[in-house]
Each structure stands twice: as structure tokens, then as C-alpha cells.
């Protein structure tokens, strides 16, 4: 049963509320927030099944929650608590829970692309039903890793869905200064891989495109590249200053994917004002509960500095 549009809305709202709760804490640590880009991960994950695996960049909070990880465990991991799926060792940059279909984050830009291709190769050779999806930023598109991976994925017809969350800026460098191609999905073309560019602020458009490519990969027809044009609300990271003018940020926030879907659902009568308020209360409560859970969990024992090295 695919999540319906209200479920997609709830998932995006949960990510937003979760990050707001995290940022309310002075000890939030070094984070890369997904605010503004929720529709990319949520739309993609709506097209994935339990057999699939998702990898992402270090901007992992949205993808992890969209994939269905328990917000309590995610919050514990982000705050370095041993109740996290990686016992607090991974943090935001390397969060993972493979048993939940989340091979997870890797905080080297472009570093997760060939890893994802390898996981897809294993799925194909072991004739497992799943596919592998990998979210990466526009920053990775200038690196050789993407082009090497596209070539191999095409040659070997891997069940791989590459999803570029193109938030159009790498820390402070706008894509116009970093990337020559006008449409990043065109990068797939020379390899004979289908590509598409969609509005990354429109979760339904992301979901529909991802579904089409996921079905294709699942049926053995090989990889695809989906570019989702998105907008980052916050700074690159919690330790980076924002160089964008305030007016520009306000204009970006007006494109909010949550507001957009809410308005559509209200206009079509699928969501009433009361139900919308209830959704907000639900996700706020989940975020607050996640913080309480993380607070109650212990830090790892200092002896764990040497465990699981080999």
C-alpha cells in the first residue's frame, strides 16, 4: 500500500518538526539540515519498498526519517547516545540502519555513489528483489565519482536509482559557478541512462518520477538519474554562516514543500483545517518524545572507542 498524499505531508512535517526540536537545543552538535528539501527524500521513499536500500549524503535527517527510521533512535544517534542504531558513533554524517533499508549516510561528497552501485551489484548477482537508491547533492555532480558510477551502472545494468537533490548551492558556491550543464539529469544521457528533472519542492512530482524509475530498475531495465531541483532553507551546516541576502531566503521559504502540499490538499478537500492542526500536534509530539528518549539514553561507555574497529 503506497502512502497517500496525507501520509507524504505527515512525513515532511515530521522532518521539519524533528529538526526544529533538535535546533531548540544548544547542544545540537554539527548538523546539516534538510529543511526545505523534505520533498526529495519523502517523494523518493514513497517509491521504495522494504526490499530496497537507501543511501544518502551527510544531509541525512530527512532521508532517514522519510525511510521510516524511528525518530527516537535517530535523535539518540544525532546526539551521540548509545541508543542510536550506530550506538552514537555515526552521528548525522554516517547514520545508518541497514536492517530498516537504510544503508545510510556517508559524509564525503560523492563518496556514496560507487558504494551504492556496489550494493546494487550485490542485489543483482544474488538475484534479490530490491533496488538501491542513492541521494546526493549537486555538489557531487562535478566529481568524477558520479561519472564513473554512471558508466558502470549503465554497463552492468544495475538496479540503481540515482537521485540528485539539487539544492543549487554547495556551502556558499552557487551551482552556476561550479557546474557547466544546465540540466543535471542530462549527465545520464551519454551513458544511455534515462534521466528526468522535476520540481523538488513538489513531493507528488518527485514520487511519481521516482516510482517510474524504481519500477523500471525493479524490472531489470537498469539505472536512472532523477534530478530534483530544491531549495535549502538553512545554512549549509549549523556551523556555517549564510551569505544569501535575507530577502532571497524569504523568497526561498515561500516555496515550502509542506505549505504547497497543504494548500493543494485543502483546496481539493482532502484535508481540513482541523485535521491539519492535528497532524502538526502529532509530529510536534513525536519530535518532543524523540528528544526525551535521547536525553534519557546514556552516552557510550568510553571503552567503546576501541570496539568494532576490526
Amino acid at each position: 500500500m503506497k502512502p497517500d498524499a496525507v501520509e507524504l505531508l505527515r512525513s515532511m512535517m515530521l522532518i521539519r518538526a524533528f529538526e526544529a526540536a533538535l535546533m531548540s537545543r544548544p547542544d545540537h552538535g554539527f548538523q546539516l539540515l534538510s529543511a526545505g528539501e523534505e520533498a526529495v527524500a519523502v517523494g523518493l521513499c514513497a517509491a521504495l519498498t522494504a526490499d530496497d536500500q537507501l543511501l544518502c549524503s551527510g544531509r541525512s535527517i530527512g532521508p532517514a526519517l522519510a525511510r521510516g527510521l524511528d525518530p527516537n533512535l535517530v535523535m539518540a544517534e544525532l546526539l551521540g547516545k548509545s541508543a542510536g542504531p550506530c550506538r552514537g558513533k555515526a552521528g548525522r554524517g554516517h547514520l545508518s540502519q541497514p536492517a530498516a533499508g537504510f544503508l545510510g549516510a556517508h559524509a564525503v561528497v560523492g563518496g556514496n555513489l560507487s558504494i551504492a552501485a556496489g550494493a546494487a551489484l550485490a542485489m543483482k548477482l544474488q538475484r534479490r528483489p530490491g533496488i538501491v537508491a542513492c541521494i546526493f547533492g549537486d555538489g557531487a555532480c562535478g566529481a568524477g565519482a558520479l561519472h564513473e558510477t554512471l558508466n558502470i551502472a549503465a554497463l552492468w545494468q544495475l538496479p540503481l536509482l540515482l537521485v540528485c537533490d539539487n539544492n543549487q548551492i554547495s556551502v556558499s558556491t552557487p551551482r552556476s559557478e561550479a557546474l557547466a550543464p544546465q540540466r543535471l539529469s542530462d549527465l545520464a544521457q551519454p551513458f544511455g541512462i534515462p534521466g528526468a528533472t522535476v520540481d523538488g519542492m513538489d513531493v507528488l512530482a518527485v514520487r511519481d518520477a521516482a516510482q517510474r524509475f524504481a519500477d523500471r530498475a525493479r524490472s531489470g531495465s537498469g539505472p536512472a538519474l532523477l534530478e530534483c531541483v530544491s531549495w535549502r532553507f538553512a545554512t549549509h551546516s549549523t556551523s556555517t554562516r549564510d551569505t544569501r541576502p535575507a530577502g532571497e531566503i524569504e523568497a526561498i521559504k515561500a516555496r515550502c514543500p509542506i505549505k504547497r502540499l497543504t494548500a493543494e490538499l485543502e483546496a481539493t478537500g482532502h484535508l481540513g483545517r482541523h485535521a491539519c492542526e492535528q497532524l502538526q500536534r502529532d509530529v510536534d509530539a513525536a519530535a518532543a518524545a524523540a528528544l526525551r528518549f535521547a536525553d534519557a539514553a546514556p552516552y557510550p561507555d568510553v571503552s567503546e572507542v576501541l570496539t568494532d574497529v576490526y
Partner: protein, 318 residues
């Protein structure tokens, strides 16, 4: 059996035992590897499990790591160790850390097989950079000096839970030696004494083991008795075997083909000195210059028997 045949035998047996083992790399297919060390594997196992790849070392190690965390046991062949530099990101930033960062949810049983050493191929096809890897927690690094160890270490590497870099050497492929007909595994982390002696311990690895043994043979004619320890495993280092020997000889010479600065010998000698007060130490490695394809300059750069003999004599001056 030739060294190159020992490699093919180890891979053949492990591929027969375990269908998760696959081989990825440039020219690994019907060509049989750049040094014929993979001959017959493609014919026996087919192109699904013995895969030629594009010239893309970074992606190939990345694909190997990704396949490893997802349930396979890949061997990625990097033709020259110089090109391992292109693939260090997935090896060091991902494979070596994945078990730690996932708190054991994932592990990467990957073998990277690569060929080091000088043989007239120039500044970017000759390097021995295994010491670079010795400071990477999560990696294991082995370097065989005999056909038996090439066989046994490669088989052991394929039974590991985490990533192993298996370093062979251009000048070793055509060397011959006994390999037991029965299946065996050379334990990783255990050195081997190649020659017994009482005046000085020479600790070395890979092709330089042959140089050390020859130097020891010639020094014996001068009345100097050398014990030669073949490290076999660089990470972890078998400090116990080296120190057992050096505790008797009271003198340790380290010998490597790569750069001695921050090298295998620097690490080994420091750690041996921590355990053995008053131990006399010296190291021999390449000169601080790139390794040219020019025959005169290559020979001048890398250690040879004469330099080892000279260093031993110098170390033993009271």
C-alpha cells in the same frame, strides 16, 4: 609453483568454496591479469564473477566495498599500487570505518589486491606505499614474499570480516617455491623467520626478503650471522616475533623498498625500541627520490644487496 600460480590457485579454491567471492578489475578477464596471476579464472567462473572493469580505480574499490557490505566477498585488483591512490577514498573513508561507524551493523569483507615495486616502469608504476596504510585503523595489510605465503595469505584475506590490502610485487611473480599441496591459510599478523642468525635481525617484507636473504648469505662469509624476519603482515605487525629475535641479536635493521620516512621500518624500530632498551637500530629504504624507469637511476634508488650489507656492517660497529 610460481608465485603467480599460487595467487591463481588461492582465488580458484576460494571461488569454488564460496560463491560470494568475485573478482573485479582491469584486465582480470580472459587476459588473465597483467602478470598472468589470474590465468584460468575467467574461463572457469565466467564473466559474471570475473569482471573486467573500466579504468576507474576509485569507483572499482567503491563498488567492491558496496558489494561487500551488501553480502558479497569481492577481490578488487588494482594493477599498480601507485593507482591505489585513486581509490583511497572508498578504502580509507568507507571500508576501513564502516564496521566502526555502524557499530557492527555492517562490515566490508573486501580484498584489494595490488602490485608494488620497481621493475623499469617509471615514477608512477613503481612505488611501494604500503606504509601509508599502516596508520589506518580498520584496515589489514599483508605482503607475501614467497609463493606459499602468496597462497596462504590471499586465502586468509578472503576469510576476513573486514578489508585487507594484499600487496604483491612485480619481481616476485616469476619466482618459484614450494607450496603445500593441501589447503592452508597463513595467519594474518604472524611473521616468519627465513634464516636463523645471531648477530643482527633484518626485518623486511615482500621482494626485499629475497635481497635480505642474499645479503645474509654473503655476510655469513664475512663471519656475520644475520637472522631474517619476513614480516608478511604489516597491519597488524607481529612485534613479538621481531622482538624475540632482536632480544637475542641486540641489533635490528629494517629493510623496505619504499620510502623510509614514516615507513614500515620507522614504525617497527620505534616499537621494538620501546620494548628493548639499548637495541641498536638502523633502516634501509629507497633514496628520497622518485623511482625512474632509467636502469641506472632505478637501481641507484632502491635498496640492493650491497646497501644492506653495508648497513649491517655499519650497525655492528661497536
Amino acid at each position: 609453483m610460481f608465485f603467480r600460480e599460487a595467487i591463481a590457485r588461492a582465488l580458484r579454491e576460494e571461488m569454488q568454496h564460496d560463491e560470494r567471492v568475485l573478482l573485479l578489475g582491469q584486465d582480470v578477464g580472459s587476459f588473465g591479469g597483467s602478470y598472468k596471476e589470474l590465468v584460468g579464472l575467467h574461463r572457469q567462473f565466467g564473466s559474471e564473477r570475473v569482471r573486467n572493469t573500466p579504468v576507474a580505480e576509485a569507483a572499482m574499490i567503491g563498488v567492491g566495498v558496496g558489494a561487500a557490505i551488501a553480502g558479497l566477498r569481492p577481490v578488487v585488483s588494482i594493477t599498480y599500487m601507485d593507482f591505489l591512490m585513486l581509490g583511497l577514498d572508498p578504502l580509507v573513508n568507507y571500508a576501513a570505518k564502516v564496521r566502526y561507524k555502524t557499530a557492527g551493523q555492517l562490515h566490508a569483507p573486501l580484498v584489494v589486491k595490488t602490485t608494488a615495486g620497481a621493475k623499469r616502469q617509471g615514477v608512477a608504476h613503481s612505488q611501494c606505499i604500503e606504509a601509508w596504510l599502516m596508520g589506518v585503523p580498520g584496515l589489514k595489510v599483508v605482503a607475501a614474499g614467497t609463493p606459499a605465503d602468496a597462497y596462504g595469505l590471499l586465502k586468509a584475506a578472503l576469510r576476513e570480516e573486514g578489508p585487507v590490502v594484499f600487496v604483491d610485487h612485480k619481481r616476485l611473480f616469476p619466482t618459484a617455491g614450494d607450496v603445500p599441496t593441501g589447503e592452508h591459510y597463513t595467519p594474518i599478523g604472524r611473521a616468519a623467520v627465513r634464516r636463523r642468525g645471531s648477530d643482527v635481525t633484518i626485518a623486511t617484507h615482500s621482494y626485499m626478503t629475497l635481497i635480505a636473504v642474499e645479503a645474509a648469505t654473503r655476510l655469513a662469509a664475512e663471519g656475520i650471522s644475520c637472522e631474517v624476519v619476513d614480516l608478511r603482515s604489516l597491519l597488524p605487525l607481529d612485534l613479538a616475533t621481531v622482538c624475540d629475535s632482536a632480544a637475542r641479536t641486540r641489533a635490528l635493521l629494517t629493510l623496505e623498498e619504499g620510502q623510509p620516512a614514516c615507513g614500515v621500518g620507522a614504525e617497527l624500530a620505534f616499537r621494538a625500541r620501546e620494548q628493548l632498551d639499548g637495541l641498536r637500530i638502523a633502516r634501509v629504504g629507497a633514496l628520497p627520490a622518485p623511482v625512474s624507469s632509467n636502469p641506472v637511476l632505478e637501481a641507484a634508488c632502491i635498496p640492493d644487496v650491497e646497501r644492506v650489507m653495508h648497513a649491517v656492517r655499519h650497525l655492528l660497529i661497536p
